[in-house]
Each structure stands twice: as structure tokens, then as C-alpha cells.
Amino acid sequence: MSRPATRRAWPVLGALVVAALLVVVAAPTYYVNLAVLALVYSLLAMSLNLLMGYAGLTSFGHAAFFGAAAYAAGILSLRYGVPFWPAAAAGIAVGTLLGAAYGILVAGSRGVYFLLITLALGQVTWGLTLRWVSMTGGDNGLPGITRPDLWLGWPLADVRGYYLFALLIAGICVALLALVVASPFGHALRGIRESPSRMRTLGYPVWGYAYAAFVVSAFFASVAGVLYVYYNGFVSHQNMQIAVSAQVALMVIIGGAGSFWGPAAGATLLVFMQNLLSSVTQRWMSVLGLLYIVVVLYQPSGLAGLVTQIRRRRAGRPEERVATPAVLPTAGDRNGWGR
């Protein structure tokens, strides 16, 4: 984000905050529930965007960290009666540590290798969760997790109070993510996305940067997982399925990988679509699959790319082509792809 763009973004940001606060007072309960989900998945998608959009590492296993954090917090609170804050901290720690462990295995890979290894790791984590019945409840999952007994101008047990809480936590995380993205580290990630070999020549420890990005991303995904489990009161292996990882990746792509706010827009769009469509059809997975195909075919740069295209057209420069984000490299770009 360049500086003038940031200055232009302030009124938009202000309007967003006002709108987000208005939801609490004005929206019907059903939409407040959806808004909580939108916040949770926005945070999850933005955490994945750090990898996909900024570092150019497309992961199909992100649900593993989300789910591990949710399970850990859920198990501690349900089986051991651990209060909210320590259980939440432990959940985030477990998800982040899992990221730190998996990061060792994937930080040296790029492109399709990275994608398929994260997919395999995500599936293995899911399989373990499903079969480790004595700990995770297997197919039945863990029902009956209660919302924290806190008060934030509104009791958190009520969904409106929980929404405010989620808004606060997600807001803090987004601010932190903005700092990460704007830092020299964030710029180095973009450099790695464009050309790992050049960055290596310049003396950047590419492995270390990719590893750090992976762990940071897992940390924010874990925060989203903990927010989710206390909202939902229930966690099951379905929260770890590849469908979740694929859906989050699609949120990033639909929003526009590498744009800061795009993934949040993609997440909100998909959350509302899924819940509004669920009253019409049971075939959400088909819709998701078709969306994948349509987006890749017609709008690979996502909503963010669409906005750029419209702006350019207004400015009378329709000929200019919009840069496709690094997740969809062109034929000539073999950097880090395959071999």
C-alpha cells in the first residue's frame, strides 16, 4: 500500500468501523451470527493471505492450525474446566506450535510442492483428529463448549456481546497483520514471491523468511480458531476438512491474493453466500467447486483486481492490463515453480 492510498483508505476504514458497530444495535440476531462468522473467516483468510498473497506460497492445509487451536481450547475448557483466557492462550499456542513443526517440513518448498505437502499435512492432521476418538470425540466432535463468562459492555454469552469481542480481537490482529505487511519483513516476503533466487543472492535467508511467515500465519489462524470454537460451542473434524482449507484459499483468491483487504471481502462474501444458499440448496460443495472453476477462468485476480480494472477504465486507460497476482504466474515465470 503506498502512502496516498493509505490516506485515502482512512475514511473507508472509519466507515467500516461504524458499519461494524451498527451491526450490534441494528441487525437481526441471525445476521449478527453471520457477522461473527464473517469476522472469524476474514481473520483466517487474511492470515492465509500472508502466505498466498505476500510470500507467494499457496497452502491447502490451513484448516489444520485453525482446527488444532479450536480443538485444544475446546478440550481444555470441556474436559479440564480450564477458564477462558488460559484455554484460549493454550489453543493459540498449540496451533502456532503445530505451524512451527509443519513449517520445518514445508519452508524449503515452493509452488506446487508447497501446495501438495501442505494439503497432505492438513489431511493427516484431519485423519488423526477423526481417529483419535478418546481425545477428540471422533466423528461426534466436542459439543457443549460454553462462551466465556466475561462482560464487555455486553455479556459475551449473548451473540451481540461476542460479536463485539470478536470485532475487538480481529481488529487487533488485522492491525498487527498490517504492521507485518508494511515492515521490512513484509517487503522481503514480496521479494521472495517475485524471485526467491534474487533474494537469496541479495543475502536474504529465504528459508528463514518463509518459515517465519508460515509460523506467523499459523498464529493468526489459531486466533481465528479459538474465536470460532467459543462462538460455535462445538468443534468437529469437519472444521479441519480439506473443504475448509479449500474454502479459505478461495476466499483469498476471490478477494484478490496480495491485496490487504481483499481476502476479508472474499470471506464475508462466501460466509453470507453459504448461509443464505443453505436455505435453497444442500449443494454448497458443488457451488464452491463451480466458484473455483469460474473464478480461475474469468477473474483470477479477484475482487481487488476487478476494482483496479474499473478504476483504470474510469481513468481512461482501458488498454492497460491488470497485473495478475503472483499466485497465478505466467508461463515465462519459472522461478521457484516445479524445479
Partner: protein, 282 residues
């Protein structure tokens, strides 16, 4: 006896995985694309084969139906969708993810959620005695048939003109194209072959594993483990990887059912940490 059965079953399962893994590996070799819908071919082949075999009372017709249908599916996917994105590897992989979700849901729609199983044909049921050992005949059949397919694949790849073209395209697609090899058509051929092999594996696997929603992902995970361990695009790697995963999965499930995924996950992680491109990867 327990161990011998376990190993025999593991080998049979491993050879079944080889049929799937080799298609995945071939497609990757020529196109650099990991086809995430590969497990879906297995699923659809299994459902169709089971249905046709039950309706016609012929195992062979079941196999034919599964193989032909998945082959057509693979060709349509490649020519109508993936080919447009020649060279844009990630776009192609994302497309296959779309097909994975779509085909899984459509299968659930068409065939419902109840697991189905194909009866073992009479000629292949029962078991074979050799010395003091007893092998289930059907698993022996799977192992032998898959070994034959492996041998045929090897001979075609190493000894024929087509095989030479494939190897050239694997080594350097652009140079091969420049030398007159029709790489897009070769890619379609590999897609058809890979899909057909996965469909075949689906029909063959149905009598011992059954078909159910989610079988596509279960198989895809194991097939990914196979190619991660063996090395993507490597023929001997796929063979070694599939036998390893087949054995580890079977033995793991028997010894510690709750944590059976660890059995192939731990070695896979170890290999990744030491050799990120797999045992035989370049």
C-alpha cells in the same frame, strides 16, 4: 500368520496405490500439474464399476465401465479446461481443486451416502494355499494385475518411441516441443492414461475397501504421501512409495488404530525434512 496376512494385504493395497500414484506422477511429469481431482477418478470409477458390475453380473464389464468413464472425464477436464492454461501451473491446480469439490458433491448426490461394496467375482473368491500359507485369492489377483500394469508402463516408457517422447517432455517440455513432440497432445494422453488407471484402481479396490463419500480424499491423501515419499515424476519412486505407504497403512491400522496416520506420516515427515523432493525426486 498374522504378520504374513498383514504384509500380503499391505502389498495388495500398495499395488492399488501404485495404480493411482503412477497416474498422478505421470501427469505431473509432463505438465508439472498436481491433479487434485485424481482421487475423484478413483471414486467415480469405483461407483460406476460397482453399479455396472452389479447390474450386468459381470466384473469385466464393471472394470470396462469404470475405466472408460474416468478416461473420458480426464480427457474432457484436460482439453476443455486445463489446456487453456498451458504453463500456468497454479491456475491449473486450482481448477483441479474445483473439480475435486464438484465431483465429490455430485457423487454424493447421485450415489447417496450409504457405503457400497462390490462382490468379489466367484472365480477370484476364496484363497490360495502355498505351503503353510493362505492368501486371499482376490488380493493376489490385485497384486499381480497391478504388477503387470507397472511392467507394461515401464516397458512403454523405456522401450517405445512414445515413451521416449514422454521422457523428453518430462525433462524439458519446451525443448521437446521445439523438437517436434506435440506436448499438449501428449499431456492429454497422459491425462487419459492416469485417469483410466485411477478408475481401474477404483473398480479393483471396491470389493476390499468399499466405496463411500470421502473415499476420494482418503485415496488422494495416500497417493500424495506416495509421491511425496517417492518423488514426483519418478517411476521407481512411485513403486517404492506406494509399497511403503500400503504396508505402513495396513500395519499401522492393525497395531494402533487410533493413531494409524502416524505410521506413514512420521516417515513422510522425516523424508521431507532430509530430502524435500522425495527419495527419487530430482
Amino acid at each position: 500368520m498374522f504378520w504374513i496376512t498383514l504384509v500380503a494385504n499391505g502389498v495388495a493395497f500398495g499395488m492399488l496405490l501404485f495404480l493411482i500414484g503412477s497416474g498422478l506422477s505421470l501427469i505431473f511429469g509432463v505438465m508439472r500439474v498436481v491433479n487434485l481431482a485424481h482421487g475423484s477418478y478413483y471414486l467415480i470409477g469405483a461407483y460406476l464399476g460397482t453399479g455396472v458390475a452389479a447390474a450386468t453380473n459381470s466384473f469385466l464389464l464393471g472394470i470396462a465401465a469404470g475405466v472408460v468413464a474416468t478416461m473420458l472425464l480426464g480427457v474432457v477436464m484436460q482439453t476443455a479446461f486445463l489446456e487453456r492454461f498451458g504453463g500456468q501451473i497454479l491456475a491449473q491446480v486450482l481448477l483441479t481443486m474445483g473439480f475435486l469439490l464438484l465431483l465429490a458433491d455430485l457423487s454424493l448426490w447421485v450415489w447417496g451416502g450409504t457405503p457400497q461394496i462390490l462382490a468379489i467375482p466367484d472365480a477370484l473368491s476364496g484363497s490360495v494355499r502355498a505351503g503353510g500359507f493362505v492368501f486371499p485369492r482376490y488380493r493376489l489377483f490385485i497384486s499381480l494385475l497391478s504388477a503387470l500394469v507397472a511392467l507394461a508402463l515401464y516397458l512403454v516408457l523405456e522401450r517405445t518411441r512414445l515413451g521416449a517422447q514422454v521422457r523428453a517432455a518430462v525433462d524439458d517440455p519446451e525443448m521437446a516441443q521445439g523438437l517436434g513432440v506435440n506436448v499438449p497432445r501428449l499431456s492429454t494422453a497422459m491425462f487419459a492414461l492416469g485417469a483410466a488407471l485411477a478408475g481401474l484402481a477404483g473398480v479393483l479396490g471396491s470389493p476390499i475397501l468399499g466405496v463411500f463419500p470421502g473415499a476420494d480424499l482418503e485415496i488422494l491423501t495416500l497417493a500424495l504421501a506416495v509421491v511425496i515419499i517417492g518423488g514426483l515424476g519418478s517411476f521407481p519412486g512411485t513403486l517404492v512409495g506406494s509399497l511403503f505407504v500400503g504396508l505402513a497403512d495396513n500395519i499401522g491400522k492393525a497395531l494402533f488404530p487410533e493413531l494409524s496416520y502416524i505410521a506413514f506420516f512420521a516417515p513422510m515427515a522425516l523424508i521431507l525434512a532430509v530430502r524435500p523432493r522425495g527419495l527419487f525426486g530430482r
